[in-house]
Symmetry: none
Subunit: 212 residues, 4 copies
């Protein structure tokens, strides 16, 4: 999928070598943005780190912003995958739904450290660039849709309180996604395990009727 997005670029390189060059630039950019942040990474730096000329940089990418957009796309799926990867319809009727929720929440909050710098940069861009915001919104919608289906399913099986699947999906998604962001951006230092527990409880109690 990352590839399909990459393929949208201006002039789809027909040569393997081109692809390699483009990839080198992307990797160099990821690495530099990771370390220094987006604003402090110059196109010249990226080109140099990739071992190509600035000219080449602009052969492959319209501009710096567009490069970040490519990187964004590449990460997007990974992010949305991670958030709810471990909770599918098949788990809804498990004996311990809460454990599944917890697992899902945990994986959403974990392991993003690798791309922390990039995410921070994207977050930055989302703040001030409509197109970035747009894309993030689209990604979000997909996640929410998945969630809505799950909740609707659970509701049908009479496992839930009276909930509006639309609103519930929205809220649950936001809540998980935002807390994930909070930790990614280093905004929070509250013990993560306890936060995961609390958030899982919150979601669980919000959606699911207590067994009792």
């Amino acid at each position: 999928m990352a590839d399909s997005l990459t393929a949208n670029q201006s002039s789809a390189p027909k040569q393997a070598r081109s692809k390699q060059t483009k990839e080198k630039i992307i990797q160099a950019a990821i690495s530099l943005i990771q370390q220094r942040g987006y604003e402090k990474t110059t196109s010249n730096d990226i080109a140099a780190a990739a071992g190509v000329s600035v000219g080449s940089f602009y052969t492959y990418f319209q501009d710096k912003r567009q490069l970040l957009l490519v990187i964004f796309d590449r990460l997007a799926d990974e992010i949305s995958k991670n958030i709810f990867e471990s909770i599918g319809p098949e788990h809804l009727f498990d004996s311990d739904v809460r454990a599944n929720i917890r697992h899902s929440v945990a994986s959403a909050l974990d392991d993003k450290g690798i791309f922390l710098g990039i995410q921070r940069a994207i977050h930055e861009m989302v703040m001030k660039d409509a197109e970035f915001a747009e894309r993030r919104k689209a990604i979000m919608q997909r996640s929410i849709s998945k969630l809505r289906e799950l909740i609707a399913l659970a509701k049908k099986a009479n496992l839930t309180w009276e909930v509006e699947p639309d609103a519930a999906a929205f809220i649950v998604h936001r809540v998980v996604f935002d807390l994930s962001q909070d930790y990614i951006t280093g905004f929070c230092d509250f013990d993560k395990e306890r936060a995961i527990d609390a958030l899982s409880d919150m979601i669980h109690r919000y959606v699911f009727k207590s067994k009792a």
Copy 2:
């Protein structure tokens, strides 16, 4: 209010004229940052919009960043006040706690539109500037403390599920604060009223035992 906050500044101007100039600059800055965002607003622009010289700008503010810090401080209390202004110990034993929660959540998500652009800018800075992050953290801590006391009180009165007040306060705070940010930054377009309802339910069910 503007005055009391202004008065907190390091070099409190002794002359009324100074105060006016400083205020003009602050207002111009707020207005411009509001429209264009922080990065796209230059010190020269601000000075021009305020009808003063660049020199004056630098008489009153070390630099652009410091000005935003001042604006941040000015907004800080307002923000933290709004979030939980309508929920105090006295409301815990009301017949309808949920209504109180809803009211509180609603006021947190509402009425910030005036400073939407500024908050966006501050958010931007929080991302990359340690001092901004620190201040926001401090403000957050105060809010969380208030929440913790409330929850602890409710727990003592046996109104709650088994909750850890620390973690619960943290999560509830984040959840409300983040959703508020989501709306401020224009990230969400889900119907606000329904979101407020859903969030209130979530918090209510998470903390309070159902009457039944």
Copy 3:
């Protein structure tokens, strides 16, 4: 004499208080220029250090440059005094002329450390400001005149080699003055005592016939 020079200033203050203010400014300037150098000392700094307003500064001094000019004048005599204070006509026929020369040279190279920073600043200005250069030249001429008289006297008494008093006075003066500058500006780190000895020998052998 310093006073007479000071009195040349634009509006000779008639009030004692004025004089004091002016003096405070001069002292503050000397102290600051001493520490930071001329360029890095701003008029505002000087006014602040003197405990007066910038406005007052400009009441007493046309501009920053003019203030340095005043300071220059004030130091000028001291400098030229020191250089040849200990060699007068009365010493020419001493048994040990060389000792007198040495003493004179030594006092020229010594004890200027106090105003090192100022001298450095003046030196700077002399480099790029015609008026400073002019004044220094005038001061120099006075010193050279004194020297010429001494040498002419010695020549008449048949104590010297065949010398042209004009040229000899010029060269001797330059040689002493320049080495003094070299030490003031920290340009040299050769042992001062030995340098003084060497310079004294040089001058002595140049002008005076050996006793033998």
Copy 4:
């Protein structure tokens, strides 16, 4: 010569065009600094005079200071060469040592007019910039060493008074170098030929025993 010195620079441009641009900048800088002095010559001026953009200026030179450092290096050898070019061990035993000294002194005081302004600027920088001072000191040390050898040689041949070669070399060097500076900076207007005569006599009588 220009080339060999240019080649010493950190990032030796690989392209002929680069070299040309760099050279254009250097020449423009020399010309402007010559006319206006260092402080009054801005990077923009230099770029404009060189017919290149400011950007190019900063491609080739870290900053204005660094450019002057490059120019300094380029002049350094020339300066130290000129001062004592015409006095070598082979001349010590000439019938007329004084004539050799005079020739040497004369060449030290002459012919620098071309770079008068630059030297003034360098002098300026030496006053306030440690790195400039250091370089000048190093150049000086080399010259002094050469002189010391000469004097030591003459002493061994019993041609001199009782002199300490170290101190004598130091003093002689300073005396010539400083007077050269005096003329370069336009500080002196005493007839140069007579000054050269006087200085030569002084050095000659200081070091060498009279034949008689």
